[in-house]
C-alpha cells in the first residue's frame, strides 16, 4: 500500500468530509470527533456517494421500548437506501459478514515528520506547523 498525503487536518472541518481522487478511486475522508476515517465513496449496494451520507449515532435497543445512542457521528447512513456502515471498519451494521464498504487506513502526521520521511509530496505545500491526513491505498 502506498501512502498518500491528501489534506491538512484543518481542510476537513469536524463533522465534515472531503472527497479525494486516489489511484482512480474516489475516497471520502470524514472528520469525526477529532479522528479521521477514509472509505470508498460508493455504497456497495447501488453505488450511492457516501460523501452525502448522514453521520449518525449507533442506535441500539436491548429490548422493545428501550433505546440507546452511542458512538455519535461514527455511523454512516447511505444517502439513498439508508444502509448503515461503521466508519471505522466499513462494515455494514445489518449484515457485517457479507456487506462492507472498503475502508482505508488513515494516519495524521505532522509536517515535520513528513519532511523527514520518504513520502513528501512534491506538489503539496508542506508547512511544518500543520498536521496532514494520510490515506493508505
Amino acid at each position: 500500500m502506498a501512502r498518500h498525503i491528501v489534506a491538512r487536518t484543518s481542510d476537513i472541518p469536524p463533522g465534515g468530509n472531503k472527497v479525494f481522487g486516489v489511484e482512480g478511486r474516489d475516497i471520502v475522508v470524514f472528520h469525526v470527533n477529532g479522528e479521521f476515517f477514509a472509505l470508498l465513496n460508493r455504497c456497495p449496494h447501488e453505488g450511492a456517494p457516501l460523501a452525502k451520507a448522514a453521520c449518525v449515532a449507533r442506535l441500539t435497543s436491548p429490548e422493545p421500548g428501550v433505546y440507546e445512542r452511542s458512538r455519535v457521528g461514527e455511523l454512516l447512513r447511505c444517502p439513498w437506501h439508508g444502509w448503515e456502515f461503521d466508519m471505522r471498519s466499513g462494515q455494514s451494521w445489518f449484515d457485517p459478514k457479507r456487506v462492507k464498504v472498503r475502508s482505508y487506513p488513515v494516519a495524521v502526521e505532522s509536517g515535520e515528520e513528513l519532511q523527514k520521511g520518504p513520502y513528501v509530496a512534491e506538489t503539496f505545500p508542506v508547512h511544518v506547523e500543520d498536521n496532514y491526513v494520510i490515506v493508505e491505498v
Binding site: G24, L40, C43, G47, A48, A54, W80, V99, R102
Partner: protein
Amino acid sequence: MSDVIDRPILAEEVAAQSRLRIIDCDVHPSIHAHSDIEQFMPKRWQEHLRTYGSHLRTPYIGTTPYPRSSPLIARRDAWPPTGGPPGSDLDFMRKQHLDPLDIEYGILQVLDLFIFSQQNLEFGAAIQRAINDWQLAFWSDREPRLKASILAGQDDTEFAIAEIERCAKIGRYVQINVCPRANEPLGRRRYWPIYARAQELGLPLGIHVGGYGGHAPTGGGWPSYYVEEHQSNAHTMAAQLTSLVLEGVPERFPNLKIVFIEGGFGWIPSATWRMDRHFEAFRSEVPHLKRRPSEYVKEHFWFTTQPIDEPDEAKHLRSLIEWVGADRLLFSSDYPHWDFDDPRYAFKTPLTETERRKIFNGNARALYKL
C-alpha cells in the same frame, strides 16, 4: 446481495449504460413553491389552499407530514444547490438524473399536495387540474424527455371524466392516473366510467402507490412504524390487482392497459397463483370471468420494477423475473426518493440482452406509444 465494491468505475461500464437508452416510468417532480401552481387555480381555491391547506382522512396527528425515513422522503444527495425541495429544479434533475443515466423518457408521477386524498372533493379537483397544467408548463414544455400523466381522482368520477376529456384534448399526456387508496377497491363499478374512457382514448391507467384514504393501509389495521407502512404498499397493490381482476375490469374492458407503479413485483407470482387456485373453486361466484385470473394479469397489467426485492440468492430474483415475465416489467427509478433504484445496479442478477431491452425501454415504448 453485493460484494464490496472496491474498484474504480471502468470506462466500459459507463459505455454499457449509455448503449441502452432508458425509459424511467417513475420520476417525481415537485412543486418549488405554491405560487407556481396558483396561476393554474381560480382565486377561490388559491385562498383555500392558503387558508385551509389539506384536509385528509388520517387517524393520528402527524401521520402525513414528512420526513419519512429521510427528509421529504428524498435521496440526501438530491437537494438542488439552488434551493427548493428535491425534484423541483429541472436543470438539476437533468444534471443528476436524466443526462448521466441516459434517460430517453421519464414518466412524471406527481405526489405533491396529497391530490388524491383530499376529502374536500372540489378542492381536490382544483389542485388536480392545476397540477395537470403545471406538469406541462413547468416540465414537459421545457424538457421533451419528461412525459405527463393526467391525474384524475376517482372518488369524484364526474370530475375525473371531465378532467380526462380536458387533458386528452391537449393531447400531450401519456397516462391516466388514479389512486390505489381510494374510498372503495378499484374494481368497483362506480369507477368503471373512468376505465371506459381510458380504453376509448387508448391511454394506460397508472396506479402509483400511496395516498391517504380512510382505510388502514394494512388489512390488519394501522401500523406503528413507517417500515411497516412501507411494506404495506405491496399488500395494497395485491388487493387492487385482485379487485380489478375478480370484479371483471379486464373482462369488461379488453383493451384497457393497467400499470402498477412503485409496488415492485415480488408479490405478483404468489398473488396470481392463489387467485387461479381459488378461481377453480369459486368460479360459479364470478361467472363474469371467462378465463383464469392469471391470464388477465398476463395480458392487461404492467408493473414498474422499483423497489426491486433482493432475495439472498440472485437465482431467486432470476426466477421472479421469469415468473412475472420480462414482457410485463417497466424500469423505474423513483428519482429523487430515498429508495431510488440505479439502473446500473438495481438488478442483482444478470439479464439477457433481450430482457434488458424489454425492461429498460421496449415495453414502455410500446405501452406509452413513445
